[in-house]
Point group: C2
Chain length 203, copies 2
């Protein structure tokens, strides 16, 4: 049973978080979903709905998989040294570290992406790169990027595809296929396919 630490902060993006969590929840015998925030106070998403975290960062939980969403709240969270310091320590203890959309800027700001390949939302790409520390190999065209134990995905819906890659890595391809099937989700299975990149918007 792997503990998933779903990190929330004010103005996080709903689907960045709940898309991947839905896929993980399809295997409830394998994943325990826990939301974690700076404090245990309720956290309002950028869309409006409010989540009560299961834990605060002060609780001594070791998460096997970290999930960091993006959203307009990353503009403020990237300056939150208390949260970033915890994120750095939690990432060092985790088997897998994942982010969706501009969540990768929080990983970058926490010093977790140094020397790694990573991606983010293509509409926020320049902003993320400009505000990240040097030494990160940002990829402008990718649905998601896997660099050893760190998976960063493109915007919003891309997190669902990335989470299926996590399920495939941890539980095998049938488990990933089942999760998508049960969720009636047609996944993008190719990490390099990015119809939403600035270079190649096709829809």
């Amino acid at each position: 049973m792997r503990k998933i630490g779903a990190v929330i902060f004010p103005d996080f993006e709903m689907l960045d978080l709940f898309g991947p969590l839905q896929m993980f929840s399809m295997h409830r015998d394998a994943f325990e979903i826990l939301t974690v925030a700076e404090t245990r106070a309720e956290v309002k998403s950028s869309g409006g709905p409010k989540v009560v975290p299961d834990y605060s960062i002060a609780d001594p939980i070791r998460y096997d998989i970290l999930l960091v969403p993006g959203g307009k709240g990353t503009r403020s969270a990237r300056h939150n040294e208390v949260l970033l310091s915890w994120l750095n320590k939690a990432a060092a203890q985790a088997e897998l570290v994942t982010s969706v959309c501009t969540g990768s800027l929080l990983l970058a700001s926490a010093g977790i992406l140094h020397g790694r390949r990573a991606t983010t939302n293509k509409r926020a790409f320049d902003w993320v790169v400009d505000h990240s520390p040097a030494g990160i190999n940002w990829q402008p065209e990718a649905r998601w990027i896997e660099d050893r134990n760190i998976l960063t995905s493109s915007g919003v819906s891309a997190g669902m595809d990335m989470s299926l890659a996590v399920i495939e890595r941890t539980l095998g391809p049938k488990a990933a296929k089942d999760a998508a099937l049960w969720a009636e989700y047609t996944p993008h299975k190719d990490a390099d396919f990015d119809p939403f990149s600035l270079e190649g918007q096709t829809i």
Copy 2:
């Protein structure tokens, strides 16, 4: 500005709710997202995360669009006469009534679907039909169904496609296309296309 009443109850399915809400939230000048539950106490989703409702059903809010998710909690909610009675009244006042997955069983149980065409999750299809009142024209193969002002969708992810149809109806096709683009979501645009129906699973 349309008020969206996102109805939550214990063990609702996360993506049923947050997928559509994400799409609506892409047009925050047009839609106000409000969660509503039987009481204002926090509501735990079937996946684990807990939501604090903005309103209870006792609050005299008129919602323009109702969104009813499914999930294993529908097994209990379909017997909740207080909730169903409110749902019936709220639906009568709404411009559009929508459901995702087994949320359509709650619409059926509340007497809202009589004489209508409707659909639901295909894995729960027989269960939903068997537990619904007579007089509903259940469709076994559809991504979503629009019968005048009522839209019911298939399982989980199908809610995102249905919500884009709602955006198209209310704000026009460009608004729906933009919402999908900003969410980096590749929608199923054909309501009749259902690769997850029991007749034709293709993935």
